[in-house]
Amino acid sequence: MSAHAADAAIPHTVEPHPVTGLPNGKFGIWLFLASEVMLFGALFSSYVLIRTQAAHWPPEGGLSSEILNVPLATLNTAVLITSSITMVLAWASCKLGRIDRFRLWMGATIGLSFVFLVVKYFEYTHKFHDGHFPSTNNFYAIYFTLTGLHGVHVIGGIIVNTFLLTVGTRLWKTDRDHFTNRVENAGLYWHFVDLVWIFLFPSLYLL
């Protein structure tokens, strides 16, 4: 079997599949994102249900914007938006054949992802310090579940992007178009993570 390993390459990594008109990786990542919409959608739906059925929201009184740290979350929104443009510029650099620029932009994307997590860490530890946990009430349960799941997605993005920036870059030497498509697919995922936060931020912090 190993003799055929070289022939058993996954097809349609660069040239489009005749049925979809897309490289398989891109079609695959969109199907994955569709499942992600349902994952976050189900939790968002739960949030809407719990909130509309609650006598007061947040249950402890006051406003969400007084309980959660709006300036830090605004900063994090700007950080994620910036990481989205650095991600798209990393892909564009590949398209233009500039692997040096790709390293710069991808490094910036990963750096900004860590900034987001560090800010989130401060937000969480502050809440824990004040004795607020997911079990405190429905408000904190929803807050920690949604932002926690989103944070896990940020960590996932960091892992994939770090792979592309380090050992994954080897593919650039043998197949530039294939590598560029991988960066594009990682980008689609990353923009989705940004997109989820765009909805989470006003829903949880501002309303």
């Binding site: 040239e15 489009p16 569709a34 700007a78 989205s84 233009l96 829903s203």
Partner: protein, 104 residues
């Protein structure tokens, strides 16, 4: 065959980069607006409507430009229409159960 219509040469492709910066600035401005509006302490239904409209515009820009949905293959649109339909169903599902419990 692998070549797509929107970026045939590096020079041509470079011209498209400007729109990424435009969207980037627009997203930052809309973030500032949505935070600013929250300080106006509008009544809740209006505040929710304004925040969700702004978020939808931002999400639309990310999807259309950063994720290139503005010029994507039909099969992706088909997948997303199906996803949107199921997402709406999931959003509306609780309201069906609420009506039921009220009726009992």
């Amino acid at each position: 065959m692998a070549e797509t219509a929107d970026h045939s040469s590096p020079e041509e492709f470079k011209k498209h980069l400007g729109k990424y910066y435009v969207v980037f600035v627009a997203l930052l401005c809309l973030t500032a607006i949505t935070v600013g509006v929250s300080y106006l302490k509008l009544n809740r239904p209006l505040a929710i409507a304004v925040a969700l409209v702004i978020a939808s515009v931002k999400a639309g820009m990310v999807a259309a430009v950063f994720m290139h949905l503005i010029s994507e293959k039909k099969v992706i649109y088909a997948v997303l229409i199906l996803t949107a339909a199921f997402f709406l169903l999931v959003l509306l599902l609780p309201s069906f159960t609420v009506f039921e419990s009220v009726a009992v």
